[in-house]
Amino acid sequence: MALLRLIARLDIKSPNLIKTIQYEGLRVMGAPHDFALKYYHAGADEIIYMDIVASLYGRNHLTELLQTTAAEIFIPITVGGGVRSVDDARALLRAGADKVAVNTAATKRPELIKEIAETFGSQCMVLSIEAKRRKEGGWEAFRDNGRERTGLDAVEWAGRAHELGAGEILLTSVDREGTRKGYDIELLAAVTSVVPIPVIAGGGMGTCAHIVEAVRQGGASAVAMADVIHYDRMSISQIRSEAAAAGLNVRKL
């Protein structure tokens, strides 16, 4: 079977890698390419670059960075932030991305998912969902990095996106993002039980036990991590050996 993927997620406010807590309180970490290279050599299975201000400014600034990175990193790269059209997606794929992640524009015009999937294949089309718990139960999808409500139920939105041709879902819990308290397992389980496509757990990774929960109880096919590796609390190779020791089926290096 396909192996559990350990994915390094880098949020970028051009030209820097930044880290937030619940998408607030932005802190500058350094040059994204240097971090990506480090993660590649430590054995990351994939890299996600997310331009976190792209939706605000209406364009993605990662093309140059992507060209630099794709020349030195030989694993799949997903890029998101500000993708509003098939042409935006094409520009990123041409610059070296293997997949594009779409959130804001798809919540405004869901057909974008279908257009990207039909043009480049479902395997290229990742739907990014930023989900926040509602007081009355369930989760609402947010856009613009957890800043704006969409009114969409996150679980229903995931199902709709799959029908439109999304090949994968990057599911980030806004409540857990940057907290290191663990992934929102109920959210993961709710989404993985309705969509047959791979779901990447995001938001809250702090220890290896969180990965085990995300996979065993949440049904995640992949886990995204940021804080824990950016601050060097754990290295990806350490996470990989701990995951393997816990019986998870990870890539052997």
Partner: protein, 214 residues
């Protein structure tokens, strides 16, 4: 000495990552889209993304089919990647039946949509999966997998897989949903890989380097 590799550019698709990976592995890369380019090649890479029929149509449209067959018949060193592996076979079943290069006997069929326990299986097969020896006696020494051990993972994105008539053509397999799926094929100096070595990290680069040195 710089090793030259001629990458077939039939589709006008995105070959950037293939180019970069071969360059990183020490090759001088050139793109070719005519018969003359093939005849002069030192070694050839046949990449491919997209559908079988359209991909073969593109090769035919550029009159590359005969030169490629001749290059292979003459014992030239060739590596087909993903769809490029599938082209080597007689028939592809993606969107109807289409003939391939037919330099290896067999068909390219859709992956089974149920696992061996009859549960639905996710198609396409996307992600990292381990390379396995198809049979105990299959040796990887002297092949592109010489420096790779069974269990090493590589990156796959595909919905169709080759089913060679001659089991000796199968160099490596992977397991998906309990099924054995062809991951690499070989006949002499002709190789095909279903996975993407250009996206398979250092393992992929090692395979590319080994191909360049064979």
């Amino acid at each position: 000495m710089s090793r030259c590799v001629s990458v077939i550019d039939g589709s006008g698709g995105n070959l950037l990552s293939v180019r970069r990976a071969f360059e990183r592995a020490g090759a001088k890369v050139q793109f070719v889209n005519d018969g003359d380019g093939i005849r002069k090649a030192e070694r050839i890479v046949v990449p491919g993304v997209g559908a079988f029929g359209r991909g073969m149509d593109a090769l035919r449209g550029l009159a590359l089919v005969e030169p490629l067959r001749e290059f292979i018949a003459g014992g030239g060193s060739v590596l087909g990647i993903c769809l490029g592996l599938q082209f080597l076979f007689e028939v592809g079943e993606e969107f109807g039946e289409h003939s391939g290069l037919g330099v290896l006997r067999g068909r390219v069929r859709r992956l089974p949509d149920r696992d061996t326990a009859d549960r639905p299986l996710r198609i396409p097969h996307i992600g990292w999966n381990a390379l396995l020896r198809p049979r105990d006696e299959t040796q990887w020494r002297g092949t592109i997998l010489e420096r790779v051990a069974p269990g090493y993972a590589v990156y796959f994105v595909h919905s169709f897989a080759a089913e060679p008539v001659d089991p000796r053509n199968i160099l490596a397999e992977c397991e998906y949903g309990g099924h054995r799926v062809v991951a690499a094929v070989q006949h002499g100096r002709l190789y095909g890989v279903q996975f993407h070595p250009e996206k398979s990290g250092e393992t992929g680069l090692t395979i590319i380097k080994t191909f360049l040195e064979l």
